[in-house]
């Protein structure tokens, strides 16, 4: 089984889907000849030709609008927006057409397409290259939003996203693109969008995270065990919308304590939604208020300060300790 980083795993997923389904095509800025600025689409042009691996003019709104039109025509486009900060240029097309056309057409035109975009901090980038705005899309009816946390989940989730009959926002934690390698089997594991994964079993507290925040969450869980003999259960959300409420509720019903971690701003962030759902379904099991470890409600700091802004294992451990000591 080859060990791959996330870029290679995503490339494999695109390659296999292009090979297996001639409706699948890839479009975006610099995706063809250049192979994408992060090289996720490297080599695809040579294999599948310029009709299916399409370099586009620099206009994010038209990339998404064109992809929606292609989906109406019956293709399965995978559109890349070079950085998630530029998806805001396409906000209107995402909200007006990508999310709504199935509904507006009374079911005639299901929009089976994927919008891929690298998101999140940690790569010492310029303004608009580090944001985590997944909450915008989770707030938009008609979309699905998924975020992998490593090479394997990236590959399996991208297969699931391309297969899906509804439009999927696929956010790639760019800090993880080349951060580590995992075994990636030849064939994808079939996973359903909307399912979380228990990344580590535990009984004392639940840590919920996704994307690049899975690594500090898992590191915190290991330290909690090594230093304090605390058994933390770590949940990898994977699907932001729809959200796997059941897995979250089951875990917190068992542990009674919970910390939610994400990079994005706190106000109306994904943690707020998670906490609301736990309150609705597992309130009587709670032993302490749920803590949030998130980005702050400020613009993402310029990169010399980003390591202080981003949640880390220490902050998660502190929050876990406060939760554990609550009486």
């Amino acid at each position: 089984m080859p060990k791959m980083n996330m870029v290679e795993a995503l490339n494999l997923a695109l390659d296999q889907n292009l090979a297996n389904d001639d409706r699948v095509c890839v479009l975006g800025e610099d995706v063809a000849v250049d192979g994408g600025v992060f090289r996720v689409t490297k080599g695809l042009l040579e294999k599948y030709g310029e009709d299916r691996v399409i370099d586009t003019p620099l206009a994010e709104g038209a990339i998404i609008g064109a992809a929606v039109g292609m989906a109406v025509y019956g293709l399965r486009p995978v559109a890349e927006i070079q950085f998630s900060g530029f998806t805001l240029q396409a906000f209107d097309q995402i909200e007006q057409n990508m999310a709504r056309l199935r509904h507006r057409s009374h079911g005639r035109y299901p929009i089976s397409m994927v919008m891929r975009a690298p998101y999140g901090g940690g790569i010492r980038a310029v303004e608009h290259h580090s944001e985590s705005r997944e909450a915008y899309w989770a707030h938009t009816p008609g979309l699905k939003v998924v975020i992998p946390s490593g090479p394997r989940s990236a590959r399996d989730l991208l297969h699931a996203a391309i297969d899906d009959s509804d439009p999927v926002i696929f956010y790639e934690p760019k800090a993880l693109y080349r951060a580590f390698r995992e075994d990636v089997p030849d064939q994808p594991q079939k996973i359903a969008i909307g399912k979380a994964q228990i990344a580590r079993q535990g009984t004392d507290i639940t840590l919920i995270a996704y994307g690049a925040m899975m690594r500090p969450a898992l590191e915190a869980a290991q330290d909690l065990k090594d230093l304090h003999s605390i058994e933390a259960e770590v949940i990898d959300l994977l699907s932001i919308s729809p959200m796997d409420t059941q897995t979250l509720v089951d875990s917190v019903s068992k542990t009674g304590r919970c910390v939610v971690v994400h990079e994005g701003p706190r106000c109306c962030g994904i943690a707020a939604e998670i906490i609301a759902r736990i309150n609705e379904h597992a309130f009587e099991h709670l032993l302490a208020p749920i803590k949030r470890v998130t980005g702050h409600d400020i613009h993402f700091p310029y990169f010399q300060c980003e390591q202080h802004y981003l949640p880390d294992a220490d902050t998660i451990i502190e929050a876990a300790n406060e939760t554990l000591q609550y009486e």
Binding site: G65, G69, N97, R108, Y109
Partner: protein
């Protein structure tokens, strides 16, 4: 007693004097080329009196075809008028009348076949009817019933979107798909003069040109974007010239001349089908009625202006042409008008039979399959309807 004027007026002494601008002298050391805008061709075949003004372009259509076109324009007008009455009587929601734009509407859609695609703006009754949308469907839609949006079987059209110009990139996307599949279908999309200012429309021009996508852009310049006249919307003397800047060939057509619209669109569709890429047709027409039924045009335009355009009515003009050809007489005109009116009234009956809100279906068509959280919300919502006794 006359109240004394409040001291609001700025005293003239407070107004800063504008410095006199001396135009810069042309440089002698650098010889500049002439920077200029290109010329755009114009097309009119039928003048305002219903006479052929350009015999070389008069299409050789059979009598039955000419009468079919005329009838479609009359039916469009009848529907428009009836919908306005229904709206004033409280039976219709806010809608966008298209009176005066019938020639533009029918002309742009005439050359399309069933396999072709149409991505309309919201002011597109005539073209939608021609494509196969039903009158009662359009009534349902504008009266706020979701099922009106259902695209009829066998019709390759997008349901219109309300955000101005936002559907135009989709037309380009469909055309890119057509090209990828080596299909020989084409796409026609229309939008108004206001939409020409939207980024989405300009991005769509560029995409279509870069990919030589088989799409025809029809800009219905009806003089106003709500209250904003076209000459304040843009600084250019026409809208067609937006095309060549993107590599999209363009023509400016008398949009109240249905023959000119048919000829221009036929050529544009042929170009697209032959693989020669997109084109832009600016149809110069006039919104004789309201922007929407919530609009009062008296605020921003003079009655005399409207009267001038009434004299250019696209239906009256085509009627004269057909009468001169001996294809229509006053009795036939009356009979055809009554027939169309009857068709609209019969559709209104069907509309009334179907005009029942279905609040239990609001969660439908959101996703292929409702996620568990939405299933839960749906149960809560249906329980609320049950408590209130809503069926």
């Amino acid at each position: 007693m006359t109240p004394s004027a409040p001291e609001l007026a700025v005293k003239s002494s407070h107004i800063p004097r504008r410095p006199k601008i001396t135009p810069p002298k042309p440089r002698k050391d650098i010889s500049t080329p002439t920077i200029a805008l290109g010329e755009i061709p114009n097309l009119q075949i039928l003048n305002e009196k219903g006479e052929i003004s350009d015999p070389s372009h008069e299409p050789k259509l059979e009598a039955a075809e000419l009468l079919r076109i005329y009838r479609a324009m009359v039916l469009t007008r009848k529907l428009d008028t009836r919908m306005l009455t229904m709206q004033r009587q409280g039976e219709m929601g806010t809608f966008a009348p298209g009176m005066g734009q019938e020639a533009t509407q029918i002309g742009q859609i005439y050359p399309l076949t069933k396999k072709d695609w149409f991505a309309p703006s919201y002011r597109s009754f005539g073209a939608q009817l021609w494509r196969g949308w039903t009158i009662e469907g359009l009534m349902l839609l504008w009266a706020g019933f979701f099922e009106g949006f259902e695209v009829p079987e066998g019709v390759n059209d997008l349901p219109f979107s309300i955000v101005v110009g936002s559907h135009v990139p989709l037309a380009g996307g469909i055309a890119i798909g057509i090209k990828q599949r080596r299909d020989d279908a084409v796409v026609v999309t229309n939008f108004g003069d206001g939409a020409i200012s939207q980024g989405a429309v300009n991005e769509a021009f560029n995409f279509a040109a870069v990919y030589k996508a088989p799409v025809v852009f029809v800009c219905e310049n009806n003089g106003y974007a709500i209250s904003m006249p076209t000459d304040k919307q843009v600084a250019t003397p026409d809208l067609a010239r937006r095309g060549p800047g993107f590599g999209v060939p363009a023509i400016r057509v008398d949009g109240n001349d249905v023959l000119a619209m048919i000829v221009a669109t036929t050529e544009a569709v042929q170009m697209a089908r032959a693989g020669d890429g997109p084109s832009l047709i600016e149809a110069v027409t006039y919104r004789m009625s309201l922007h929407t039924t919530a609009d009062d045009p008296k605020v921003y335009r003079r009655d005399e202006e409207v009267e001038q355009w009434q004299a250019k009515c696209p239906i009256a003009r085509f009627e004269k042409y057909l009468m001169n050809k001996g294809l229509l007489d006053p009795q036939a005109i009356g009979r055809l008008g009554d027939e169309c009116e009857q068709e609209v009234l019969e559709a209104r009956t069907r509309f009334r039979e179907r005009a029942k809100a279905k609040p239990r279906e609001v969660f439908d068509m959101m996703y292929e399959e409702l996620p568990p959280e939405l299933e839960q919300q749906k149960r809560e919502y249906l329980a609320k309807l049950d408590r209130k006794g809503v069926q």
